[in-house]
C-alpha cells in the first residue's frame, strides 16, 4: 500500500481548507469512515488530512470514582472516558489510529497556539502511537492557500514543545484545582443535606467571581449624595447654545440657587476664546480582547459569541487566526494584496483604493505582541456564501478596523469660550473635525458629534436667557458586563485569551451571576463568602496570577512543568486539608445557601394586593400543579393567587410589565418561542391585544 504523510488538523473545516490548498488540482478526495471525514490530497506525494474535533484527550483521575477528595494523581485519556456526551470521540480516534498505521510521516497542522499545539501533540502521541517526537509542524495564521502552501513547503522540523508543555501544565493545574475544589464543595453540601447540587469553583473562576462580588458589595452599600450642576442657554445671534457653569459639581443647594439668581437673564462678556488643534491617531489593530470589547460595545455580543463568530470566519479563510494577543501587523502579511482583494467588494472599494493610492502603507501598531500570530486582519478573501447577520457584522468590523489602522491621523479642533456673568464664569464648548483621516475608514463604528460655534471675539457680550439648576446624585460604580469583566481579568493577569470567555460563561451556567449587566446571585455571593471564610486562598487573585506567570515561563522554557505542578499541589494540599476539617460547617453553610438560592429563584416580586408579602411560584400539594401565591397567605393575611402555564419552565424575568408595572415571568416551552408573561388579569396590554384580535 502507498505510504503517505498524515496531516492532523484541529477541526474538520480546517482539514478541508488545508487539503484543498495543498492538493495539486485543488480537488482533494473526501472520504468518510464511520462518519469521520478525512481528505486524500496529492502534491509531491500522497497526503492524508485528518481533523481532530478540538480536544480529543483530557486530564482524568487515575483511580476513577467520584465521591471523594482530594485527588492528585491524574493521566491523559480520551475524552469519551471522562465525558458522557463524547461517545463519538472513540470512533474518531479509531479512524485516526487506523490512518496513522499507513503513514510514513506525520505533520501537525493544528492552530499555532497553546491549545492547538496540545491538541496536535495528544493526537500524535496517543492516537498515532508516540509519533510526537518525529512529527513536523505547519505554522500559519490564516487558512489562505498561499500561506498554507508556504507553511507546508517550509515545515518546522519539530513540534513546539514549549507551547505543548505550557498547555499540558495549564490543563493539569486547572484540573487539579477544579476537580478538588468543585468536588469538595459539592460533596460537603451533599453530605450535609443529602441533596445533590453541582457547585464549582476553580483557579480562575474563584477570583473572577470575587471581583464581581466586591463590585456588588460596593453597589449594595452605596449611599448616593446630592450635588447640583448649572447649565445656561446662551443667546448668540438668534441662536441658542448650551453653556456650562465653571464648577462641574456644586455641593450645596443654596450655593447653586445663588448662582442661578445672580446670572438668570443677565448679559455677560467674553473673557477669552481658547482654540486648540489636536491629532487623533488611528486605533490599533485588533487583538482578540479588543475585538471582543468592540463587538460588545457596538453589537452587544458576548465575548464567547464574538470568538465563535471570529473562529467561523477564520475557518472560511476570511480573517486571520483570532485567538491572538498581538496588536501588530507585519508587512509579511502583504497589505497591498489584502487591500486589492477587499477592493473587489463595492462597500470596501473606495477605502481600499484610497489606501492603495498612498505611497507607503504603515499600520498604527500597539505595543502588545504575540510570538505565534499577528493581530486579527482580513485575508482579502470575500465570503463565498451569504454570511449571517452577526458574521457580516464581525467581518465588516475586522475589515474596517484593518483599513482604519492605515489611515492618516484625524485632526480635530476644540474651542472653549469663557463668558463672565455677574462674577461667575460659564463655558461654551465647540468641537469640529478638520480632517477625518482614519475616521472615514472606520464609519459607522466611530461617532463624531460636532458642535459648531459662530466666530466669537473677546469683549463681545452674550445674554444668558435661562440659567437652569440640575439636581443630581452620585452614582454607584457601574456593574461589570461580560466585556468589561474580560478586560478586568486581562488587567489582573488571570486566565488566558483562550479561556477567559469560557470562565465568564461558566459563572453564568452555575447560576452565580445573571444578566448582561452582571449581578451576583445569592448563590454566587454565598459561595464566595464561604470560600473566603474557610479557604481564602482559593479566591485570592495573587495565587492565580503567580501560577499564571509561571505557566507563561514554561512557554519561554525558563520554568519546568514538573516544578510548577509540584508547587500547585503543594499549595492545594493544605487548602484541601483545611477544607476537609471544616467540611461539616462548610456543608451546612452551602446547603443553606442553595436553599436560599432556590427560594430566591421562585420569588417573583412584591404582592400588588397586600403589599406586605411576596409572590412566589408554588406547587399545590393536592394537584401538584404550579401557581403563584403570596407568602402572606401563611399568616392568614392575603389570599392572592394566579394560575400559571403547566408546561415548560417558568422563571421570574426580573423586569416589570411596561403597561401595568407588574413583575413579568419568562416562560419557555419546548418547540415554542420563549415569551414574557404578565400574570395581571387586568393588564391593559391584554385588553389592547383582545381589541386588536377583534378588529382583525
Amino acid at each position: 500500500m502507498e505510504k503517505y504523510a498524515l496531516i492532523v488538523t484541529e477541526k474538520p473545516e480546517a482539514a478541508r481548507r488545508i487539503a484543498q490548498a495543498l492538493d495539486k488540482e485543488g480537488k482533494p478526495e473526501k472520504v468518510e469512515e464511520k462518519g469521520v471525514p478525512y481528505f486524500n490530497a496529492f502534491r509531491d506525494r500522497k497526503l492524508v488530512v485528518v481533523p481532530a474535533l478540538g480536544h480529543l484527550y483530557t486530564v482524568v483521575h487515575e483511580m476513577g470514582g467520584r465521591n471523594y477528595y482530594p485527588v492528585f494523581s491524574f493521566k491523559w485519556a480520551p475524552r469519551y472516558l471522562a465525558e458522557r456526551g463524547a461517545k463519538n470521540i472513540r470512533t474518531w480516534l479509531e479512524v485516526i489510529s487506523g490512518l496513522a498505521g499507513g503513514a510514513e510521516e506525520f505533520i501537525d497542522a493544528c492552530d499555532y497556539d497553546i491549545e492547538g499545539s496540545l491538541i496536535g501533540y495528544c493526537v500524535l502521541k496517543y492516537a498515532c502511537q508516540n509519533k510526537e517526537n518525529n512529527a513536523k509542524r505547519m505554522k500559519f495564521s490564516t487558512l489562505m492557500k498561499s500561506e498554507l502552501e508556504k507553511a507546508y513547503d517550509e515545515l518546522l522540523p519539530r513540534l513546539d514543545f514549549g507551547l505543548i508543555e505550557a498547555g499540558k501544565t495549564r490543563h493539569e493545574v486547572d484540573w487539579l484545582y477544579g476537580i478538588n475544589l468543585s468536588r469538595a464543595l459539592t460533596l460537603a453540601a451533599k453530605r450535609w443535606s443529602g441533596r445533590y447540587a453541582t457547585l464549582s469553583t476553580g483557579r480562575v473562576q474563584g477570583p473572577t467571581l470575587k471581583f464581581l462580588v466586591e463590585r456588588e458589595k460596593e453597589i449594595l452599600c452605596f449611599v448616593p449624595t446630592p450635588y447640583w450642576t448649572i447649565k445656561a442657554e446662551a443667546e448668540i445671534k438668534d441662536s441658542i447654545y448650551e453653556a456650562e457653569y465653571e464648577k462641574e459639581r456644586i455641593e450645596r443647594k443654596a450655593d447653586a440657587d445663588a448662582v442661578v439668581k445672580a446670572c438668570e437673564g443677565k448679559t455677560g462678556e467674553i473673557k477669552n476664546v481658547d482654540i486648540k488643534k489636536f491629532r487623533q491617531m488611528p486605533p490599533f489593530p485588533f487583538d482578540v480582547g479588543s475585538l471582543q470589547i468592540e463587538a460588545y460595545r457596538l453589537f452587544g455580543y458576548t465575548p464567547r459569541g464574538t470568538l465563535n463568530i471570529a473562529e467561523r470566519l477564520y475557518l472560511e479563510a476570511l480573517i486571520s487566526y483570532p485567538r491572538t494577543s498581538s496588536q501588530k501587523l507585519p508587512p509579511v502579511i502583504d497589505y497591498k494584496a489584502i487591500l486589492t482583494g477587499l477592493s473587489k467588494d463595492s462597500s470596501y472599494r473606495g477605502s481600499a483604493l484610497t489606501l492603495l493610492g498612498k505611497g507607503e502603507l504603515k499600520p498604527n501598531e500597539g505595543k502588545k505582541a504575540d510570538p505565534a500570530h499577528p493581530a486579527v486582519y482580513p485575508t482579502g478573501n470575500l465570503p463565498e456564501r451569504p454570511l449571517s447577520d452577526p458574521e457580516k457584522r464581525i467581518f465588516d468590523l475586522v475589515v474596517k478596523r484593518f483599513l482604519a489602522v492605515f489611515g492618516e491621523p484625524a485632526v480635530k479642533e476644540s474651542m472653549r469660550v469663557n463668558i463672565e456673568v455677574n462674577g461667575h464664569l460659564f463655558y461654551l464648548h465647540g468641537r469640529q473635525i478638520l480632517k477625518a483621516g482614519w475616521m472615514r475608514f472606520y464609519e459607522p463604528y466611530i461617532k463624531t458629534e460636532e458642535v459648531l460655534l459662530p466666530p466669537l471675539k473677546e469683549g463681545e457680550t452674550i445674554r444668558l436667557r435661562h440659567v437652569i439648576r440640575e439636581d443630581k446624585f452620585t452614582n454607584p460604580p457601574p456593574r461589570y458586563n461580560p466585556s468589561s469583566l474580560l478586560k478586568k481579568m486581562e488587567e489582573e493577569g488571570i486566565g488566558t485569551k483562550a479561556t477567559r470567555a469560557d470562565i465568564v460563561e461558566t459563572l453564568y451556567g452555575r447560576g452565580y451571576i445573571a444578566e448582561q449587566r452582571i449581578f451576583v446571585t445569592s448563590l454566587g455571593f454565598d459561595v464566595t463568602e464561604i470560600l473566603g471564610n474557610y479557604c481564602p486562598n482559593v479566591i485570592a487573585v495573587e495565587l492565580t496570577r503567580e501560577l499564571e506567570e509561571k505557566m507563561e515561563q514554561i512557554q519561554n522554557k525558563s520554568e519546568k512543568r514538573g516544578s510548577v505542578l509540584v508547587e500547585a499541589v503543594d499549595r492545594l494540599k493544605p487548602i484541601m486539608e483545611d477544607f476537609k476539617e471544616m467540611e461539616q460547617a462548610i456543608g451546612e453553610a452551602l446547603s443553606n445557601a442553595i436553599k436560599r438560592a432556590r427560594m430566591q429563584e421562585r420569588i417573583i416580586g412584591e404582592c400588588p394586593n397586600c403589599g406586605t408579602g411576596k409572590l412566589l411560584i408554588l406547587y399545590s400539594r393536592k394537584t401538584g400543579k404550579r401557581f403563584i401565591g403570596c407568602t402572606s397567605f401563611f399568616k392568614g393575611i392575603c389570599k392572592t393567587s394566579f394560575p400559571l402555564p403547566q408546561r415548560g419552565t417558568v422563571k421570574p424575568a426580573r423586569r416589570n410589565c411596561r403597561a401595568c408595572e407588574w413583575p413579568l415571568l419568562d416562560v419557555r416551552i419546548k418547540g415554542k418561542r420563549p415569551w414574557a408573561l404578565c400574570f395581571n388579569p387586568l393588564c391593559p396590554l391584554k385588553e389592547e391585544r383582545k381589541r386588536e384580535v377583534q378588529n382583525l
Partner: protein, 68 residues
C-alpha cells in the same frame, strides 16, 4: 447574636453586610446635611427612596426609620 435585619450572624447590631451599609449611611449624612440642611430623619427617608441607594443601605435606613 443575630442581625436585626436579616437574621444572619451579627458582628455588632447587624451582620457584616448591614454593618458596612450602616457605616456608610452614617458617614454620608454629613454631606447631605451640608447640601440640604436636613435632619437625620429626613435624611433616612430621602436615602430610603433614592433609586441609586444600595439595597443593603435601604434595608438599614428602613429599619432605622421604623425603630427610631
Amino acid at each position: 447574636m443575630k442581625c436585626k435585619i436579616c437574621d444572619k450572624e451579627a458582628v455588632g447590631a447587624y451582620c457584616e453586610a448591614h454593618e458596612k451599609a450602616h457605616t456608610n449611611l452614617v458617614k454620608e449624612y454629613n454631606a447631605w446635611k451640608k447640601a440640604l440642611e436636613i435632619s437625620w430623619k429626613e435624611y433616612l427617608s430621602e436615602v430610603a427612596k433614592n433609586p441609586y441607594t444600595g439595597s443593603w443601605v435601604k434595608e438599614v435606613a428602613e429599619h432605622l426609620i421604623k425603630s427610631e
